[in-house]
């Protein structure tokens, strides 16, 4: 029960002492101003404390080294070190701040004592993290009294330093983009390669999808060159918890790894609260959207609610971080929080010291904020993902999440920023109106009990494979012995023959296949795009922008003229998309508007080729390749925060994009189709004039399934839903009479996601069904949180959940089609009516 405001007011400065947490979940609710509390506290959980589990240092390290160590290693560190000394590769999949650096740091230290020429290659995700690591490792080696040299070698390294680092550094820290380029000059790394004993890949879970493909091939090229010079390194991968660490390690490196996932580091008790923003106007019903296809949620946006919760926590002695999506959000949040505390109708007497923190602030400003946090001078900081990893932020007791960050790994990472070591901590999740957020709100077991998402790295994409083969051939001629590492002999031979025909390769595998041109194929590699035709991103009036090019599919989808994009947390509008030149480009101008844009796509699929199939219930499920034509011809403008539609049907001006890619599709058996059609033949959507009326229900059903399955896919796989697409159709293109729906990888050559969905079809379908039935909107036609997809080229119609659930039930074998049929009005003319083809995407 919310307490009476005036009597129980606690002064914000009154902390319950250095050791105690000032507010638990229940206390958060109890102290919240009653006029603002409308039942937001949805759920409360208490995660128990975990004690540390140490292993005496001398059990894993040589005696004198163990003696210089200040603290005994945790059990997972010890386990990893043992596996390494047994000659194994290791994949450490424990939480953040569990000291993963020490695993490879100590291994290098002990190897150094045997061989001062030992070398190790560390691959980090970003340049900033690289330099943090350099400091941390130098500190470690200093404390051990060892003369191990560490050097960062990347685009920011000074020219004069580069030769010295190559020649002398024991530990070289770089990133994948840099590594890709440096391989071309491998002769300069001869000594390093010959003595290389360790390759470390940090944050390995982030290398998934397209970037994962590139990372995997770059690692293979690296290993091949190291082998040539005589090196034979082991691998250490560090990763957040994912569902398939062993598989992922193997996909990235090509070798097996021992997974260490029992975390020996300590953590304090954590209170986790799910705080659902109330409806606007308090306690009202949702707007009835009957007859219209627009449905706007009238809940308070998370962007307004979350800063207030944050302010409240900070005020009450829980120093907290508020995690926002963009730089602008952090600034807005601080403003809102301050306004909230200054609101005279609310019982706050003083203010709290709050600050924003993001990459847009200069280095000095950020250091100052970090220090103030550490010294306890700040009560709270609103930040972007900039503070998700890395620096120690001292006594933070609370983390507020404004919206779901997109993956479990990120969710726990953010939570983990509060409550270091054994301190008790509070975390509050404030969901936005987006589909995933709402799903998690209603299914907390997803976060707390279930297996984390699986990382997906698909080496089957041929265009990417070819790009890296060109690089490999340029680095050293390709020979038969390279086949194991590069796709197997059949694939390599086909690729070589392809390259000879197109003029990229010369020679044969027997004698050595070389790259036939004089340019550097390494420069063609863009870690975030699948093949050539990358678009340069330019700022109006200037040259390039961070050298980060984007793929064509993404350019058409998100960077058409008129689109607004978030780049490094700032907002821009695309003023030009230029394709006629040799180097296509998009040009951005900074803007500050209150809407975001989203393009719709129209899809056609044909020329399908089945590579595998299986039966799911009475359905036939296929996986293979197909030609997908996607046309992002229109876009909408939506208000930030509420999602209200401001303008619709605007033209993008981009042409259709045709690609050959991987996809999976379900064929609906006749009996099911007829039964469901009949059962829902009464449903009509007046806006679907082009479709035969009695099919609205059935087509609405399979259309809804396609949307829902794509929407829930990120719950299973580390996929961005934008990298998937779908199409539901009354007549599949392969000549059968069946209807069904496709899910495809929206990248030329495929990404491996449709493949995974094919493999986990039942699970994904079940989740999709849950999404539909659990949504509080209660609408048959769905809402943006469950069935509606902002990108739907058909304006989200027809969508019809009751038919969808029937079809899924049939798929999962939970209902007999005959039972469905009998509940409908039998129409004797059913079977004789000829069904016209109709596709809805």
């Amino acid at each position: 029960m919310p307490t009476d405001d005036i009597d129980d007011l606690t002064d914000g400065q009154d902390s319950t002492g250095a050791d105690g947490l000032a507010l638990t979940g229940a206390e958060l609710r109890d102290t919240f101003p009653s006029r603002r509390y409308h039942g937001q506290l949805h759920e409360r959980f208490t995660l128990p404390a975990e004690p540390a589990s140490h292993v005496p240092a001398r059990e894993v390290l040589p005696a004198d080294l163990a003696a210089t160590l200040e603290v005994d290693p945790w059990s997972h560190q010890a386990e990893a070190l043992e596996a390494l000394s047994d000659g194994e590769n290791v994949c450490v999949a424990t939480s953040t701040s569990s000291g993963k650096t020490y695993v490879y740091g100590l291994h290098v230290a002990r190897r150094f004592r045997e061989n001062p020429d030992v070398r190790a290659l560390l691959v980090y995700p970003t340049k900033a993290l690289s330099r943090d690591q350099e400091r941390e490792l130098n500190d470690l080696f200093d404390s051990l009294g060892l003369d191990v040299t560490v050097g960062v070698y990347d685009g920011d390294t000074k020219r004069e330093e580069k030769a010295r680092i190559r020649e002398e550094a024991n530990v070289v820290i770089t990133n994948f983009a840099g590594l890709n380029q440096y391989l071309e000059g491998h002769h300069r790394w001869a000594a390093f390669h010959a003595e290389c004993e360790l390759i470390v890949i940090d944050e390995a879970h982030s290398w998934t999808g397209i970037s994962g493909m590139h990372a995997a091939w770059i690692l293979r090229r690296t290993r091949r060159l190291i082998d040539w010079y005589g090196g034979d390194p082991q691998y250490v991968l560090t990763t957040a918890t994912i569902g398939n660490p062993a598989e992922h390690a193997r996909a990235l490196t090509g070798e097996p790894a021992t997974v260490i996932d029992e975390d020996g580091s300590p953590s304090g008790r954590r209170h986790l609260a799910f705080w659902d923003p109330p409806t606007d106007g308090g306690g009202g019903e949702y707007e009835d959207g009957s007859g219209d296809t627009e449905w706007s949620p009238s809940k308070r946006p998370a962007t307004v609610e979350a800063p207030e919760v944050w302010a409240h926590c900070c005020y009450h002695g829980v120093p907290s971080l508020l995690f926002c999506d963009s730089r602008k959000q952090t600034e807005l949040a601080v403003g809102r929080a301050r306004e909230y505390l200054e609101n005279p109708t609310l019982p706050y007497r003083n203010s709290a010291d709050l600050a924003a923190y993001n990459a847009g602030h200069g280095k000095r400003s950020r250091r100052s904020t970090e220090n103030r946090l550490k010294d306890g001078e700040l009560d709270g900081v609103a930040t972007t993902s900039a503070l998700e990893v890395g620096i120690d932020v001292g006594g933070i007791d609370g983390t507020i999440l404004m919206g779901y960050p997109g993956s479990r790994q990120s969710f726990w990472q953010r939570l983990g920023r509060s409550g270091r070591d054994e301190r008790e901590a509070l975390s509050v999740f404030v969901p936005s109106h987006a589909t995933l957020d709402q799903y998690i709100l209603r299914h907390p077991e997803y976060l707390l009990e279930e297996e984390p998402e699986s990382a997906v790295v698909d080496l089957a994409n041929n265009p990417v494979y070819l790009q890296h083969l060109r690089c490999a051939a340029q680095e050293l001629p390709l020979r038969r012995e390279d086949a194991d590492r590069f796709g197997g002999i059949d694939r390599l031979e086909r690729a070589v023959e392809y390259g000879r025909r197109t003029g990229d390769f010369e020679g044969s595998l027997a004698g050595g296949v070389t790259y036939a041109h004089r340019d550097r194929p390494q420069s063609e590699i863009n870690l975030y795009a699948s093949s050539g035709n990358a678009f340069e991103v330019r700022l109006a009036g200037e040259e390039t922008f961070d050298n980060q090019a984007i793929g064509k599919a993404r350019a058409y989808r998100d960077y058409h003229e008129g689109a607004t994009v978030l780049y490094r947390g700032d907002q821009y509008e695309v003023v030009e998309l230029q394709e006629d030149r040799p180097q296509p480009s998009v040009t951005l101008e900074p803007v500050d508007v209150d809407y975001y844009t989203q393009s719709q796509r129209r899809t056609t699929i044909y020329d399908t080729e089945v590579r595998e199939s299986r039966d799911v219930g009475p359905f036939r499920l296929n996986w293979g390749y197909g030609t997908v034509t996607v046309h992002h011809d229109t876009y909408t403008k939506r208000e930030i925060g509420t999602g209200d539609v401001l303008a619709v049907g605007l033209e993008t001006g981009v042409p259709p994009l045709e690609m050959r890619t991987q996809l999976c599709w379900a064929e609906v058996p006749d009996a099911v189709e007829q039964a469901v059609t009949a059962a829902h033949s009464d449903y009509h959507n007046d806006e679907c004039e082009e479709l035969p009326p009695r099919l609205h229900g059935y087509l609405g059903g399979i259309h809804a399934i396609e949307h829902a399955m794509i929407a829930v896919a990120p719950l299973e796989l580390t996929v961005d839903a934008a990298d998937l697409g779908g199409l539901a159709t009354n007549r599949l293109p392969d000549g059968t009479d069946a209807s069904g729906w496709f899910i495809y990888d929206a990248v030329e050559g495929g990404l491996g996601f449709s493949r995974r969905i094919y493999e986990e079809y039942e699970a994904v379908a079940r989740r999709a069904r849950d999404l539909m039935t659990d949504c509080p909107c209660g609408r048959d036609e769905g809402c943006p949180a469950c069935l509606m997809d902002d990108r739907c080229g058909n304006d989200n119609r027809p969508l019809y959940a009751p038919a969808a659930t029937d079809v899924i039930d049939a798929l999962l074998g939970e209902v007999d089609p005959a039972a469905l049929r009998s509940s409908a009005n039998a129409d004797p003319d059913d079977s004789t009516e000829r069904r016209p083809p109709a596709s809805v995407s």
Partner: protein
């Protein structure tokens, strides 16, 4: 030997030559001296074609325009030009097209599907049918592919396996100007390619002269390079838009080209710079740009006037470092602190030597790193802009030829690329592997190529090394230009107008120098 000469076909693309004024066009035609000019279909422009017809008195065949079939015989070689591949089918048996050595048709190109790793040759059916009726297998040239493309296709047409050798002729797309290609086509269907950047003719051949500057020079009465060479720096400077250093650079390069001599721009000592050091001129031969083996190393000591070479006449992948080992151990025995001089060594020779020393001759690694000094004359002269070299390009053989060095005999008939090719095939033939289609193609190619004449190869390498010595001498003895005031700053970036080397990879001066100890010259 005259049989080997063949016909020279210059292939042009209208957009690559549209910018050339008449002087430049004539200069290009004079430089390549073709027997025949072919204008590819892409971006074909009738105005450019008619300019070409006016400028060139040999046949000019344009692929643009209405499709027809036309034959030309030049230097004893017959070319059939087909505007469309289908026109080749069903020609009468006694038609002159049936005995052609070359078929030129821009319809011929690969269709590709990278996702499926599949590629087929468009136009293969009509070509195959034409071939089955014609005598002999004509080589197919196509303007749809760049010069340098060289692949033997073996599709199945009408149930039969056919062989279609395809060569590209189109200009090479580069980051700067396109490179025009001239193909020497011999009687047996073999093609040798030489190329030069399209913007290096007429006044544009001069350093620092782009289209605007060329126009300015013309406006001020300078129509030819000779005219620029004869004028003074002050006169050039007086032209609007040409500053002091540009005027100097232009004049140096004009004199260098016109008088076929080296023009020194600075008084920096020619490498090796130290008084007591004597240069050893070095050149290596490998099996290609990304080599797996160094099989021939030539060294010339001008002080002893002695040429020595190290060759492996039984090269094998099991011992790719054999020649390197012989060379380095000899070097260490004879010289305490040798100064090696190469042409573009930083990008090629030293890069590969280091690799092989590191892996196969590790006992000499320290000697190599600490006692051997490595210099690159090309880098010094061209990249660091200490001298202007005569010759249309900065390739060693072009510079040497412009300075009057003559190659004769066996050394004249070889070129580095084809030599590397032959070595590669020799290496392949030591492995009798399974019958994959690419192996069969390799075997076919190997059988049509000639065996290696080791004596000729050694002569070729010696010629290279001696030319290097001669160029070095020419540079050292060239007087400093009186017009230039003081030295230029060294260490500049690659000349943006500089022509590219056959063996050079495009790179910035981040490419580190490997000498230790000795100060920068």
């Amino acid at each position: 030997m005259s049989d080997e000469d063949g016909a020279d076909l210059l292939a042009l693309c209208c957009d690559a030559v549209a910018d050339l004024d008449d002087t430049a066009l004539r200069d290009a035609l004079e430089y390549f001296d073709p027997d025949l000019v072919y204008v590819v279909r892409e971006s074909s422009d009738v105005r450019v074609v008619s300019r070409l017809r006016r400028a060139f008195d040999g046949p000019v065949v344009s692929a643009g325009g209405p499709a027809d079939v036309r034959t030309e015989t030049v230097a004893g070689i017959t070319f059939v030009f087909a505007g469309s591949a289908s026109l080749l089918e069903d020609r009468p048996e006694d038609d002159e097209t049936q005995t052609a050595e070359y078929v030129v048709c821009d319809d011929i190109e690969p269709t590709t599907d990278a996702v499926m790793l599949e590629s087929t040759l468009a136009g293969r059916e009509p070509i195959a049918r034409y071939q089955s009726r014609a005598s002999g297998t004509a080589t197919v040239l196509t303007g749809a592919l760049e010069a340098g493309y060289d692949h033997v296709w073996e599709p199945t047409v009408d149930g039969e396996r056919v062989t279609i050798p395809v060569q590209g002729v189109a200009p090479l797309r580069r980051s700067g100007a396109a490179e025009l290609a001239c193909l020497t086509c011999d009687r047996r269907g073999s093609v040798a390619v030489s190329s030069a950047p399209a913007d290096r003719f007429g006044l544009r051949a001069l350093a620092n002269v782009g289209p605007t500057t060329a126009q300015r020079l013309r406006t001020n009465g300078y129509e030819t390079r000779a005219a620029v060479a004869e004028t003074t720096e002050a006169d050039l400077r007086s032209i609007e838009g040409i500053g002091a250093s540009t005027a100097r650079a232009i004049r140096h390069s004009a004199r260098s080209l016109a008088e076929s001599r080296v023009v020194r721009r600075t008084d920096e000592l020619v490498p090796p710079a130290a008084e007591t050091a004597t240069p050893l001129f070095v050149d290596i031969e490998t099996d290609g740009l990304q080599s797996t083996i160094i099989w021939l190393i030539g060294v010339y000591d001008p002080q002893r006037d002695a040429y020595v070479d190290f060759v492996d006449t039984d090269p094998s992948r099991d011992e790719p470092g054999a020649t390197t080992r012989k060379f380095v151990s000899w070097l260490a025995a004879e010289y305490d602190a040798p100064s090696l001089v190469t042409w573009n060594g930083h990008a090629f020779d030293y890069k590969h030597l280091e690799r092989f020393i590191a892996r196969d001759v590790p006992e000499f690694r320290d000697y190599w790193r600490e006692d051997v000094f490595t210099y690159d004359l090309y880098d010094w002269a061209v990249r660091r802009e200490h001298a202007v070299l005569p010759g249309r390009t900065n390739r060693l053989e072009d510079v040497a030829e412009a300075l009057g060095c003559d190659r004769s005999g066996a050394a004249a008939a070889l070129d580095g690329k084809s030599l590397a090719e032959r070595i590669r095939r020799l290496l392949e033939s030591e492995r009798p592997s399974g019958a994959g289609s690419e192996d069969r193609a390799a075997a076919t190619a190997a059988s049509t190529g000639t065996a290696i004449d080791w004596a000729a190869a050694r002569e070729y390498c010696e010629a290279d090394v001696r030319e290097l010595a001669a160029v070095s001498k020419a540079i050292a003895t060239a007087p400093l230009e009186t017009d230039s005031a003081g030295s230029e700053t060294g260490g500049a970036e690659l000349e943006t107008n500089g022509a590219e080397m056959e063996t050079e990879q495009e790179r910035t001066t981040d490419d580190s120098t490997t000498q230790t100890g000795l100060a920068d010259f």
